[in-house]
């Protein structure tokens, strides 16, 4: 699914370049704790979170995340948006609460690490 589809479905506002919305997303992860992301998130996932500080963009770089959705109407500070733009990291915000955002994307076929790894060859995604 393209990020632009997700923008429409979750009625997101995009805070980064339009061209980044053409990215294809297959896997999602949701957490507010960054160590959870480092432990259990599949490389190259889309992260849905309520944490809006700069650490999210750092973790995104470590895990090559495809993008970030800040749920529940939370808005990141300007410096976080600037950093995401520098790193070509799509930043989206939605008014939908975290649970609803995850549920909607799940029903549309996006999956997390546990399910997708069963069908995976285990080599992981290549580095961007």
């Amino acid at each position: 699914m393209e990020l632009s589809d997700i923008v429409n479905i979750l009625e997101c506002k995009s805070h980064t370049g339009r061209e980044l919305l053409r990215r294809d997303v297959q896997y999602c992860y949701a957490a507010d704790m960054m160590s959870d992301v480092l432990k259990s998130c599949k490389i190259g996932s889309l992260l849905i979170t309520g944490l809006i500080n700069k650490q999210v963009t750092q973790v995104a770089e470590i895990m090559d995340l495809k993008g970030i959705i800040f749920a529940s109407g939370k808005l990141p500070a300007q410096d976080v948006i600037e950093e995401a733009n520098e790193k070509n990291l799509p930043l989206l915000t939605t008014e939908k609460p975290l649970f609803e955002a995850c549920g909607i994307l799940y029903t549309l076929g996006l999956r997390g690490k546990e399910i997708c790894e069963k069908a995976d060859d285990g080599t992981g995604d290549s580095l961007q």
Partner: protein, 143 residues
């Protein structure tokens, strides 16, 4: 037999420097990517580095992170001046955390930092002295 050192760099990490927190790990990740280390290994090293770096920013006064690639292994050693860890065994348990409310609001304190390092490394050692500091040794095989 002594292994030939192919790369070595030292980084200082300042406690409470949240503005730069994570930047050392991103640098190390980019070095490994550049020398075409397997992606899976790059992620393991980067995750170890990031967790260690964030621990230092949150708890230590100052820390030095040394990153070495020699032969077919990467070694990260981190030595800090800080409060030390009262109970290392507990700190290694998933879910145990001494993070303050402020740290939790920043997205830390899941109690997974040290376990994440252990799980992503091939060899992990930790030594800590109360009121003095903590030393970590992390080795990851590159092939």
């Amino acid at each position: 037999m002594e292994r030939e050192i192919l790369y070595n760099k030292s980084f200082n990490i300042m406690g409470r420097d949240f503005a730069n927190a994570g930047s050392v790990s991103v640098k190390i990740k980019n070095i490994l990517k550049e020398i075409k280390i397997k992606p899976e290994i790059v992620y393991r090293v980067s995750i170890c580095c990031y967790e260690a770096e964030m621990n230092e920013v949150m708890y230590a006064e100052i820390a030095n992170l040394n990153f070495t690639i020699s032969g077919d292994e990467a070694v990260i050693t981190i030595e800090d001046k800080g409060p030390g860890i009262e109970n290392v065994e507990l700190a290694m348990k998933e879910g145990y955390s001494t993070a303050t409310q402020e740290m939790r609001e920043m997205g830390f304190g899941a109690g997974l930092g040290l376990p994440n390092i252990k799980n992503n490394s091939d060899e992990f050692k930790i030594e800590s002295k109360i009121s003095e500091g903590t030393k970590l040794y992390i080795k990851i095989n590159l092939i």
